[in-house]
């Protein structure tokens, strides 16, 4: 072999070998294998031992780490065991015990728990109600941003910004000879996992962990404030589980046998396993969402706009203005009317009327009302003090009022809906498009402003007006609006890119059969295919199987929950539109089921409300790591749930 041949072979193989070796080294260094999780019996045994320990003390002769009459779970563990006590949704205390054997660590944690002042001062009934969460550290790995060799060779910013798998990884450090842990849920609660703003072009887009603040938090947790910065931070993973709501022994008069008590629930990213998808589960979940919204409707008819589940802080519904969104007020009321139409639950009626009364109150103040050039009376919705009326606020109010009439048959709000619809028709251009903003004082539409969603919402409002009045002018206007929306995609590469078109597909189905056009169905099926490409299936991303069914970009960007709801609303309409045309798309049906299974897990319910402060049952958090609730999160997700409950068991 000549030198030239050797050189050629090296040139063609060495770079690949170097890249391959670098890949293997980086992957192997940072990979923490998924935990070998305890089974239900083992979880129950660990929890019983912890409960036995902190109570009256373990019975004489009972093995360490075992409950009286129970068996200790002997298993070697990689790291410490942490026990968090949740009381009233808040983390009351946490103890940490380290031992090589799980039984020994459990016994040590039980002793610490028994001696902890916060536990001792808790009333027996509160102790019983409190829910214990156990985190067993199962593996550790280096932390990007704190790994000198890797930080030097990685793409700048990646190592520290995406260092932590949010809600799955915890961070630990050695401080003053003591190991200090920040558990995965504690990092989520500290809001340090989506704290970076990587682009100045998108100032609202936040992702990536703030590792420096995490280090500061560890110092504070260790009680060495002002002490040296921890030298070595490590990531760790845990096998986490929490006591089920029915974990207690039951009433003293008729205590539950141990076998009937619910086993502790496995947690992944702080969320227990989802209920199985069925029409009944969806209906129950939608009603839970409805109850959440009703509980967050103030006496004045305005919703408590936001609620933070970690702290219990909520928006002040009596305060006018601020971040409150009138389109969302109308959209949420629309969902409640839809829920009433499908379930006929009587407790929904009064809150719906109260929310409408608030809208009527705003309209009565007459800031945006009058007579159109053709002599028709009009009204449009705007909040107090607003100088501009948005098309979406009025459109969704019409949708909500029409939905109320569809649900109750009561035409009480029809005159109001007609005046609002007159304004929508006025805002439509001859080509079917809409003006989106209206200057109330100048009585003049803004010809230039283009905002998301509004055109689709207006098309739906007109379709719904046709449904309740049967008037052809509404069907004609809705058809023109849909033609404009769908035909907008007549360009090269169309079909590969879509905007947020969920209202378009809802409107396209709502106007059937008054307007029947194949292109609407083709458009919505195409939109479905586009969205499906963003929907991971179980096994696609092994550590992120809990994201399966959501709409996400990559495994390292946590998906938001609302799109899983709003896009599913659209897909339900796309599927029904296909059925109307005689060609239902089964892939769309599968897409809907996957998304609904995902959001069922995300909804706050009895299983998962152990860390919820305030009335959070039925809420849909912003994302698996964002525990803030806004009314429209619940609206979109629960609307999809209740609509799917009508056919999900019946259709293949």
């Amino acid at each position: 072999m000549t030198r030239r041949t050797v050189a050629l072979v090296c040139v063609w193989t060495l770079p690949s070998l170097v890249f391959l070796a670098a890949t293997a080294i980086a992957y192997g260094s940072f990979r923490i294998a998924p935990p070998d999780r305890l089974d239900a019996a083992e979880r129950t045994a660990v929890m019983a031992a912890l409960r036995a320990g902190p109570g009256e003390g373990a019975a004489p002769g009972v093995a360490p780490g075992a409950a009286p009459g129970g068996t200790a779970v002997h298993r070697s563990i990689h790291g410490p065991l942490a026990v968090t006590v949740w009381s009233g949704g808040r983390s009351l205390l946490r103890v940490t015990a380290a031992a090589a054997d799980l039984a020994a660590a459990t016994a040590a944690a039980a002793r610490q728990l028994r001696d902890h002042p916060a536990w001792r001062t808790l009333a027996p009934s509160d102790r019983e109600l409190a829910r214990l969460q156990v985190d067993i550290v199962t593996g550790t790995g280096p932390l990007g941003g704190h790994s000198s060799w890797f930080d030097a060779v990685a793409v700048p910013g990646i190592a520290d910004m995406l260092a932590i798998n949010p809600g799955v990884d915890g961070v630990a450090a050695e401080l003053d000879g003591k190991q200090v842990l920040l558990l995965p849920h504690e990092l989520v609660a500290a809001r340090l996992l989506a704290a970076r703003r990587p682009s100045s072009v998108f100032p609202d887009f936040a992702m990536g962990a703030d590792v420096d603040s995490i280090a500061q938090l560890l110092i504070a947790r260790a009680g060495v404030a002002g002490g040296p910065r921890p030298r070595a931070l490590v990531r760790f993973r845990t096998d986490s589980f929490v006591e089920a709501p029915g974990h207690g022994p039951g009433p003293a008069a008729a205590p539950l046998p141990a076998a009937d008590r619910a086993a502790p629930l496995m947690l992944y990213r702080g969320i227990p396993p989802a209920p199985r998808l069925s029409a009944q589960t969806l209906r129950d979940a939608a009603l839970r969402g409805g109850r959440y919204l009703v509980a967050h409707l103030a006496p004045n008819g305005r919703y408590v706009y936001e609620h933070d589940l970690w702290t219990g802080t909520a928006s002040d519904a009596s305060r006018i203005g601020g971040a409150y969104s009138m389109p969302r007020h109308a959209g949420t009321t629309y969902f409640l009317a839809e829920l009433y139409r499908i379930t006929r639950e009587p407790w929904l009626l009064e809150p719906i009327q109260r929310a409408f009364a608030h809208l009527a109150d705003l309209l009565a103040q007459g800031t945006c009302a009058g007579t159109l050039p053709d002599g028709a009376a009009f009204d449009c919705v705007s909040d107090r003090g607003e100088a501009t009326a948005a098309l979406g606020s009025t459109a969704l109010t019409v949708v909500a009022l029409a939905e109320y009439q569809r649900a109750t048959g009561d035409p009480h709000y029809l005159p109001l809906a007609t005046k609002l619809a007159a304004w929508l028709l006025y805002m439509q251009r001859p080509d079917g498009s809409f003006r989106h903003l209206y200057d109330i004082r100048a009585r003049k539409p803004d010809e230039n402003a283009e905002l998301l969603y509004y055109s689709g919402e207006a098309a739906l409002a007109l379709a719904r007006m046709h449904a309740i009045t049967g008037e052809a002018r509404y069907a004609e206007a809705a058809g023109r609006a849909l033609d404009w929306l769908v035909d907008w995609y007549d360009f090269f590469m169309a079909g590969f890119f879509y905007g947020e078109e969920h209202w378009t597909c809802i409107a396209a189905e709502a106007i059937w059969p008054a307007v029947k056009r194949d292109k609407y169905m083709e458009f919505c099926h195409g939109y479905g295919a586009f969205l499906r490409a963003q929907q991971p299936e179980p096994g696609d991303h092994p550590d992120e199987d809990d994201y399966a069914g959501a709409y996400s970009v990559t495994p390292f960007v946590v998906p938001y929950n609302t799109p899983a709801g709003s896009r599913t609303e659209a897909m339900i309409s796309a599927y029904l539109l296909g059925k109307h045309h005689g060609s239902p798309d089964r892939r769309v049906a599968g897409q809907i089921r996957a998304a609904l299974q995902y959001v069922l897990a995300q909804q706050v319910r009895a299983d998962s409300n152990y860390n919820v402060v305030g009335q959070g049952d039925g809420a849909i958090p912003g994302s698996p790591i964002d525990r803030n609730i806004r009314i429209d999160y619940v609206q979109h997700v629960c609307s999809a749930m209740i609509r799917a409950s009508e056919w999900v068991d019946r259709d293949p």
């Binding site: 770079p15 170097v18 890249f19 670098a22 890949t23 293997a24 080294i25 980086a26 992957y27 192997g28 260094s29 940072f30 990979r31 998924p34 790995g141 990007g144 890797f150 060779v153 990685a154 793409v155 700048p156 910013g157 990646i158 190592a159 995406l162 260092a163 932590i164 798998n165 990884d169 100045s200 990531r235 963003q534 991971p536 696609d540 991303h541 092994p542 550590d543 992120e544 970009v553 990559t554 495994p555 390292f556």
Partner: protein, 176 residues
């Protein structure tokens, strides 16, 4: 090869004999052949011009289109226009020194490209380790990024360094 060298050496002697007008024209063409008259090798000027243009485009792109807040990222990105400019300056300067400057500049661009690809590969492996997978979208994006980097950054220095290492490139710069 030795025969070709001998032939080239023999040609000046042949030019001393009287020739027809058409033969004289042919000889002028031969004189313009860069293999015979390296100073007239247009490729030197084409490469030099391309280098300056690419360096300017890189600089504008880094400055305006893909600004990076992280110093290490900025330093790495700026190696591309600077090394390309060095390569262009060397090529346009000519001579033995210019040849060395161009080769070093071109090699620096290539080295920086390889380091960039290495960084992308290692970062992908890191993300797969932390998150359990890299994902189809991210893998596609990373591959497209690498392909674009090769196409937009590496191709010019690859071709140019290859040219500089050939006999024509060396002669064009007066390097034996």
């Amino acid at each position: 090869m030795a025969a070709r060298r001998a032939k080239q050496r023999a040609r000046p002697a042949a030019a001393a004999t009287p020739t027809s007008p058409s033969a004289a024209l042919r000889d002028r063409r031969v004189d313009r052949d860069p293999r015979r008259d390296p100073r007239r090798d247009l490729r030197r000027w084409i490469y030099g011009g391309l280098d300056v243009a690419f360096a300017a485009v890189y600089a504008i792109a880094i400055w305006k289109v893909i600004p990076n807040r992280l110093p290490s990222g900025m330093i790495h990105l700026w190696t591309f226009p600077l090394a390309t400019l060095v390569m262009g300056a060397g090529t346009l300067l000519g001579g033995r020194r210019g040849w060395w400057i161009a080769v070093i500049g071109g090699s620096a661009v290539l080295l920086s490209t390889v380091v960039l690809i290495f960084r992308i590969v290692v970062s992908a492996a890191f993300l797969a380790g932390v998150y359990g997978a890299f994902g189809k979208a991210a893998a596609t994006f990373a591959l497209v990024m690498v392909a674009l980097v090769v196409e937009l950054v590496a191709l010019l220095p690859i071709v140019q360094v290859k040219y500089l290492m050939t006999r024509a490139g060396r002669r064009a710069h007066g390097v034996p």
